[in-house]
Symmetry: C2
Subunit: 235 residues, 2 copies
DNA sequence: CGTGCTTTTGAATAGTATCAAGGCCGGTGG
DNA sequence: CCACCGGCCTTGATACTATTCAAAAGCACG
């Protein structure tokens, strides 16, 4: 991790940052003094699973995967995050971070320590409220995923995961969606909760049926509606 | 739902209620005026999936299952809750309740509407903070479950689910744990994310191995440590 | 003592994971 | 420049696990 020159919050172009949304000028100035900004390279660990909770990380720019190690040291990708997102908030009310976070490409991350956050929570109810709503949304997504994990077959899981990745890192290009990140099959498999061989088989099927193409190791989804239908066959 | 005589918050013996933990006397008095208390019988629906979010439910006394309907109308039990717990908070920041809630036995539930909650959130940062921490914990549990759902086999899922039920509704009796609720096999299967036949098979195995006994339709876990080992074979 | 319910068990089938081999591709060094 | 190496990806065969369907057993209730 390389500590770099801070970008003041006002100049930061992340419009979905909870700090920027909830804080006034005075608070922002104070945060600018206290925050630590760092640059992480691709593949670098931002948070280590089991590490002591020291504060909250804000993604100013970049792409991050949140991972969790399970049985037989199998990795599960819990979620993805990008600019404007926060990581490390799962640690709230706990001593240790339950999940790790890894940069998927060069990322700039701002950090606020527990004391600063506590001050914010006491003085700025809007900030806490925003964060709470954020949790609520993540909880909904997470529980929805539990349900689908238990009920979907492998093909549906892959469809779901591709759509998920597209939602975070996808760029629309006419009717297609280009997944704008260097992601391995293992990553997608870890997100879907299946193994890489199965993933490969399903991807081959999708390629055969012209649902997606892979050029220069970038996925391009050409038939989104097909995947969406797979995901929710009964709604 | 039968609206019944209100128990004032001060007289309520739920010591883990977020309202009681965060509010002062004046606020409690106000809440006593505004809250609606109702009694639900066993099997009665407290929240309907997809219903418009009107507020938050506090379990004063009772046992509740939170359910979600998925593919092929299969039911997934998202979590269990008991006295002191809250339900309906998944609706925060959303128009409709993403999950339903059903009383598993006679339950007394207090309800606060959105307007009252909003007032609390603005005036009482402690309340919002407590609620946020609650979300954080649920999110951790939820994500942990995603991981295990993807990685555990049927036997491990059953062990995990039995332990989960025991954690909420279990009463220790010497070395054994009695699961103090009338719960169907289908419910446990829906919690584990498997089908009832599989559950039955695993339960038979457990009975054979003296891990648990069933008397008068009540489960008694006689060898907790065995289930715990199954759940986390590598820690 | 049926009747309708849940639970249990069995057998056939479908689905998934694992193991193994080979292909593809970029990087390295002769 | 090209052969070789190691990484990731793909594919096939096989073993294993889970689901489904069907039937019988157990149980509460009138």
């Amino acid at each position: 991790m390389k500590q770099n020159k801070k970008v003041p919050c006002v100049e930061c172009n992340s419009c979905s940052c909870y700090i920027k949304l909830a804080c006034n000028q005075e608070e922002l100035n104070h945060i600018d003094e206290k925050k630590i900004s760092s640059t992480y390279v691709k593949g670098q660990q931002i948070i280590f699973e089991g590490e002591v909770v020291k504060g909250l990380f804000f993604i100013r720019e970049g792409k991050v995967k949140v991972v969790s190690t399970g049985l037989n040291n199998r990795t599960q990708i819990v979620r993805l995050a990008k600019s404007g997102g926060i990581i490390g908030h799962r640690g709230y009310g706990s001593q240790k971070y339950p999940v790790g976070a890894i940069a998927m490409e060069k990322s700039e991350i701002c950090f606020l320590n527990n004391d600063e956050l506590k001050t914010l929570h006491t003085n700025n109810s809007q900030f806490t409220y925003q964060l709470m709503i954020c949790y609520s949304e993540e909880l909904r997504k997470s529980e929805s995923k539990i349900k689908y994990m238990a009920q979907m077959n492998v093909t549906e899981k892959v469809a779901d995961s591709l759509l998920y990745v597209a939602q975070y890192f996808g760029v629309e290009d006419q009717k297609a969606v280009i997944i704008d990140i260097d992601i391995t099959r293992q990553d997608i498999a870890d997100l879907a909760g299946i193994n890489k061989e199965q993933l490969s088989r399903v991807l081959s099927d999708f390629k055969k049926d012209n649902i997606l193409t892979v050029t220069e190791n970038k996925f391009i989804i050409t038939d989104i509606s097909y995947l969406q239908k797979l995901k929710t066959p009964f709604n």
